[in-house]
């Protein structure tokens, strides 16, 4: 899908949230959010379930009001959620929000119509969008007959017919097969090449690592770290991570492990004990000896740090529960 844009301005701030607070009763869902999104960026918004990612999107798109702070879209902070601004935004929802009674083509025509596209242009854009998500031959079929992955792709296409400058994708790959996931990630990369600004929320760090130019990590309603993937990984480069497969992980005293010199954190994850130590602490012998006293060691592996480790170091928990993986 080709994007030609006259109104594009380099380094323009597409969206900005300043000190945004959103409460539900006494529960703070968004806690003083500061976020700037520059034109052409792909921001990976990473956080576990319940971190506040979807609420952030709902606030950013004007769906729900916020209690304090300021939101600016396309340089407009007085009326950021005007129809003019809405025309420049595309939203890929976490739920599949398509009309089951309409064919794939009709779904796209609906959205293209709402975005004010004229007849010829609409026809062209609908074809393009279908082609873009690999559903060109399924245009006249109703989504009820689609697989989960195909529905997800149609869900994305619905947000693309009007060629948004700013595309918000809320967990677009939840619950789909690896093939469709790859297809979607490739599509996002193509959009990036065309200059679309994308806010991509997920709790799959591999996806963020693959597509995002910068990453924002959220937990419990707060933004806890910003930066490029490399920058964030560098923050934990001074650490070593060792995974030990054991026979009975629950019998290993995690507290005792954390008392070993150099160990910063020890956690049990499924059948593994994950130990994060200061770089060059040379404590592997002692760790293994202690583990062996309580359980059988089945294997040891040392990992290079990734975004998961960044998250682990920052929050003390994993992005996903083991079962989810």
């Amino acid at each position: 899908m080709k994007v030609t844009r006259n109104e594009r301005v380099n380094n323009m701030t597409i969206a900005s949230m300043q000190g945004v607070i959103k409460r539900y009763g006494s529960h703070v869902v968004l806690d003083y959010i500061d976020l700037d999104i520059q034109e052409g960026e792909i921001i990976g918004l990473l956080g576990p379930n319940g971190a506040g990612k979807t609420t952030l999107i709902q606030t950013l798109t004007g769906m729900i009001p916020f209690d304090r702070g300021k939101i600016e879209l396309f340089g407009n902070s007085k009326n950021p959620f005007s129809n003019q601004n809405k025309e420049r935004i595309g939203l890929v929802t976490q739920e599949i929000t398509i009309f089951e009674e309409l064919t794939a083509k009709e779904n796209l025509q609906f959205f293209a119509g709402v975005y004010g596209l004229k007849r010829q242009e609409k026809k062209k854009r609908v074809e393009e969008a279908l082609e873009f998500v690999g559903l060109a031959d399924k245009g006249n079929k109703v989504p009820a007959r689609f697989s989960g992955g195909m529905k997800r792709r149609l869900n994305i296409a619905c947000a693309l017919t009007h060629r948004p400058r700013f595309l918000i994708m809320d967990e677009p790959t939840v619950g789909i097969d690896p093939q469709s996931r790859n297809y979607i990630l490739e599509a996002v990369k193509k959009l990036r090449e065309n200059g679309t600004t994308i806010l991509y929320t997920t709790h799959y760090m591999e996806e963020v690592q693959a597509i995002a130019s910068s990453v924002t990590i959220m937990d419990q309603g707060q933004i806890i770290k910003n930066g490029t993937v490399e920058e964030l990984i560098q923050t934990v480069q001074h650490e070593e991570k060792v995974r030990i497969d054991v026979t009975d992980p629950d019998s290993v005293p995690v507290n005792s492990l954390e008392k070993i010199a150099g160990v910063k954190k020890a956690i049990v994850a499924g059948s593994q004990i994950i130990i994060i130590s200061t770089f060059g602490s040379g404590n592997l012998d002692r760790i293994i000896t202690l583990v062996k006293e309580h359980a059988g060691v089945l294997g040891i592996q040392a990992d290079k740090p990734n975004l998961e480790d960044v998250f682990l170091t920052l929050t003390g928990k994993q992005l996903r529960d083991k079962e989810e993986e």
Binding site: I96, L102, Q109, F110, V114
Partner: protein, 243 residues
């Protein structure tokens, strides 16, 4: 008016909801046909063939359920699954809801007219005043839609709203005394006559059939006033639900 571009698709969605089509068109056709076979030889006290009165009642009874598809679409698009996407679209959401209402009313009136065509041309029932009949069908359809939306806006659980709308439909059929005679007291007398949209519609059409224009208009106007008042209630409830 970008909402206009959605009208075609709203109509398509309604027409492709086969369950609605079945309940509001196919079942009435079958029931009217069966009743007309069974009652073909009976006549009412005024000498009118009984199956004519039955067809009239049936056409109007099913209008009591006209709001079902509208409440489903509005709930689905503006309160449930599609809410997030619809609210980010550059159009007026209230106008969109209003367009669904109008489409729903149009669709229901069309189904009512199809029933009239079927009964006239297949079963030989003579509808004396088509225009009046269509006017009353329209009032019934609009009223049902408004009532259903009031239920949708006033309760949080859609399932309960659905049950209430069924209660509205079945309730007024029962109160009209179509299943069994109702007890004789002020409450049942009122809801069996002027407080019952179904009875009002039937009376209005019968009066018009007997050229009692004044009475017919009076009964139709009661429906109209109810529509206006309930429309205001509906708007306020809709606003409260942040529509």
């Amino acid at each position: 008016m970008r909402v206009l571009s959605t009208v075609k698709f709203t109509v398509l969605r309604m027409a492709r909801n086969y369950i609605v089509l079945l309940l509001l068109l196919v079942i009435p056709i079958i029931l009217i046909t069966i009743f007309s076979f069974i009652l073909s030889e009976s006549v009412t006290e005024t000498g009118v063939p009984y199956h004519y009165q039955n067809a009239l009642t049936m056409v109007l009874v099913f209008q009591l359920f006209a709001g079902a598809i509208v409440m489903y679409l509005i709930d689905h698009d503006l309160f449930k699954e599609n809410r997030m996407r619809i609210y980010t679209l550059p159009f007026n959401q209230r106008m969109y809801a209003f367009s669904i209402m109008i489409c729903g009313a149009g669709y229901s009136i069309l189904l009512g007219v199809l029933l009239m065509i079927y009964t006239q041309f297949v079963l030989g029932i003579i509808w004396a005043n088509w225009a009046w009949m269509i006017y009353i069908i329209s009032l019934m359809a609009i009223l049902s839609i408004i009532v259903c939306l009031i239920f949708t806006f006033s309760v949080k659980k859609y399932k309960i709203a659905e049950r209430l709308s069924e209660l509205y439909g079945v309730g007024f059929v029962v109160l009209a005394g179509l299943f069994f005679p109702m007890p004789e007291n002020i409450f049942f007398d009122f809801f069996g006559t002027y407080g019952n949209p179904l009875t009002l519609s039937i009376m209005s059409i019968n009066e018009m059939g007997q050229s009692n224009t004044g009475k017919a208009w009076f009964q139709a106007n009661i429906l109209l006033v109810a529509i206006v008042l309930l429309f205001i209630v509906m708007l306020n409830l809709g606003r409260r639900r942040k529509l």
